[in-house]
């Protein structure tokens, strides 16, 4: 086993593989930072180039780009409240408030270090799970996936602490919007008004670009001034301070990395869910949940570590069963076939060196892409000083382009602009756009798996399946933990500021 691991490392360290990995990372950072473009588009562009490459070089190129989009997406989420990819949504919630306080460098430092540690953790989970990959994935059925979605939805209650009714209504509105389109099981058209444009539902990326890019920029322009309201720390001092934070909150980092790796291993659930659920876990286990959203380091550590560790997790079903763990790994499956590799048990029995090489590539790419991003962090923080009247039109255009880039549909542009205005008013009148996004992200998974579990195991499926029951107990505990801690908690944690 150790020999094969070292063989995998040697494959990754070949000069040609390293060169292509570096090229991929640069492209990934750029793609991640542009709203609407994500690792999937980066992979789609790069796949035609891998036909003549060796497998280790090809995976270095593809995974280098894909992993780098994780940190790339967080850069704009922190600096501009515009998630570069939908996988960075939860990073906005505490990352951007830090940038507003002039602590953008610190936030980027936290994000980068969480990316590195989370990435390595995901890879360790992947390595450990090799012998038990198949039974582990077969145990995850619709009832378990439904409970994961329910666990995430309880976050709406926790995040609604400031204005309970408005928070709950925002979350429920998000869930209702997720029901637009064809019913996932019966195929009945709902809320489509007879138009085919709504049959696939409302595109998440378009809503995110609207709520965050357009809505935030309307607010920035109306308020006047720049993103950062205080003095901006440009140097590496803030970045260094941020890099130490994940070590300070090491237990949270490990827990959220586990969440990311486990959710990543659930086929079809997606990284956005991992991001949101990990953030919810950080809020629900904090002694001061009400201070989240004001620039808490834990609010960046949680989503960032889970975001990247899910890459390792998503590889588990992809490699073990040939079932893509997410959209990007579905594209990656195409690369496997192009390179003459058959994902499935053969990746463990015949191509274990390639499997280990993939793990090393994910780990090394997360390290190098974060280092590359950190080199620029001090300078990137200057974006927060750009006046609103220059930044606002630029970001609105990025939002529009991002919405279009998601599916190449002009309808998504109109959806983004519409949700931009709605998002602005939601912020103005105390509604929670974060709760709306959580509802929208989890709604489809929640409903599809509920319907399927109901058909497969009957209405009492939660109580008859052991893993579901454990998840139900965890959900109830997570739901009431903040209230119990608030009532009986002995001390108060230090806030992020």
């Amino acid at each position: 086993m150790i020999d094969t691991m070292l063989q995998g490392l040697a494959l990754m360290l070949q000069p040609e593989a390293l060169l292509y990995q570096f090229l991929g990372m640069i492209l990934g950072l750029i793609f991640g930072a542009i709203p609407g473009l994500s690792g999937i588009q980066a992979l789609a562009i790069l796949i035609p180039f891998v036909f003549t490459m060796d497998a280790n070089v090809a995976f270095s190129f593809l995974l280098g780009a894909h992993v780098a989009t994780c940190f790339g997406g967080s850069i704009t989420a922190i600096l501009l409240n515009v998630p570069g990819t939908s996988l960075s949504i939860a990073t906005c919630w505490d990352g951007h408030p830090m940038a507003k306080q002039g602590r953008a460098g610190e936030a980027l430092g936290i994000s980068a270090m969480s990316n590195v540690l989370g990435g390595w953790f995901g890879v360790i989970v992947l390595a450990i799970s090799i012998p038990v990959m198949q039974p582990m994935i077969m145990a995850l059925q619709p009832s378990e996936l439904f409970m994961v979605a329910l666990l995430g939805i309880t976050l709406i209650v926790t995040l609604s602490a400031k204005s309970m009714i408005k928070g709950l209504v925002s979350g429920m509105l998000g869930l209702m919007i997720s029901f637009i389109g064809q019913d996932p099981v019966t195929g009945v058209s709902r809320y489509t008004f007879g138009t085919v444009n709504l049959m696939d539902g409302i595109d998440l990326v378009a809503v995110v670009c609207g709520l965050y890019a357009v809505g935030e920029m309307i607010k920035l322009f109306a308020d006047g001034g720049a993103v950062a309201k205080g003095e901006v720390v440009y140097g590496l001092e803030g970045v260094w301070k941020g890099m130490l934070q994940p070590f300070k909150h090491w237990f949270l980092l490990i827990r959220c990395s586990v969440i990311g790796a486990l959710i990543g291993a659930c086929p079809g659930v997606g990284g956005t869910v991992a991001n949101v659920v990990a953030y919810g876990h950080a809020v629900q286990t904090s002694k001061n949940p009400e201070t989240f959203g004001t620039g808490r380091p834990e609010g960046i550590i949680a989503p960032e570590s889970s975001h990247i560790s899910k890459e390792g997790g998503q590889m588990i079903p992809t490699l073990a069963l040939g079932i893509p763990g997410g959209e990007a790994t579905a594209v990656l499956l195409g690369a496997f076939l192009i390179l003459g590799l058959q994902p499935g048990p053969a990746m463990i029995t015949e191509h274990l060196d390639i499997t280990f090489s993939i793990m090393w590539i994910i780990a090394f790419s997360s390290l190098m892409s974060s280092a590359l991003g950190l080199l620029l962090a001090g300078q990137l923080a200057r974006i927060t000083s750009v006046p609103g009247h220059i930044l606002a039109p630029l970001i609105v255009v990025f939002g529009v382009v991002g919405a279009f880039a998601s599916h190449g549909s002009i309808i998504d542009v109109f959806v983004a602009l519409g949700f931009g205005v709605i998002g602005y008013y939601m912020r103005l009148f105390g509604y929670s756009e974060a709760c709306l996004i959580i509802g929208l992200v989890l709604g489809t998974i929640f409903e599809r798996n509920f319907q399927m579990a109901n058909m497969m195991y009957g209405p009492t499926f939660v109580f008859t399946r052991p893993i579901s029951l454990v998840l139900l107990i965890a959900t109830v505990i997570m739901l009431f933990l903040p209230f119990i801690k608030g009532k009986f908690g002995k001390g108060k944690e230090a806030t992020g500021a």
């Binding site: 709950l168 019913d183 009945v188 609105v396 602009l417």
Partner: protein, 145 residues
């Protein structure tokens, strides 16, 4: 009872939720189950919020200054203009014209800077998405680029 922006927004949310719930009644039993399970409680919560708001006659969450209101409407006008331009001249030209006009007229940026950024926006949309990624760019009514 005075109607302000917040109350109008609350009423709009209430109307949307009413629409969601009443339309769900016509769906098949399986298709309407979760929309009703989620929709009815949210409708009840929203009615409580609106009723409490009107009965207590409390102050709005945030009141904008005249300057903020003016800037808000400038931004809305810009977005409406962008929407209209996309429909007429297509996506790539619309984002370039929007950038140029906004930066020049609202941001008071010099010609060189505004034109430079507008060209960058055009190259980003037309070059990256149209040429490199082969997205079918919306060309608008004039069907130019």
């Amino acid at each position: 009872m005075k109607l302000n922006g917040e109350r109008l927004f609350n009423l709009a949310v209430l109307a949307v939720l009413c629409g969601f719930v009443f339309m769900a009644i016509d769906f098949t039993p399986k298709a309407r189950l979760l929309p009703l399970v989620i929709g009815i409680p949210s409708l009840v919560l929203m009615i409580i919020l609106v009723a409490a708001d009107f009965l207590k006659n409390r102050e709005p969450v945030k009141k904008l200054s005249d300057e903020q209101l003016k800037r808000q409407w400038i931004m809305f006008a810009g977005i409406a203009g962008l929407l209209a331009m996309i429909l007429v001249v297509g996506l790539s030209l619309a984002v370039a014209i929007y950038m140029l006009l906004f930066l020049r007229l609202v941001g008071r940026m010099g010609w060189a800077g505004s034109v430079g950024i507008a060209i960058f926006a055009f190259v980003l949309v037309y070059g990256l998405f149209g040429m490199m990624l082969h997205y079918p760019l919306y060309k608008g009514l004039l069907d130019l680029v």
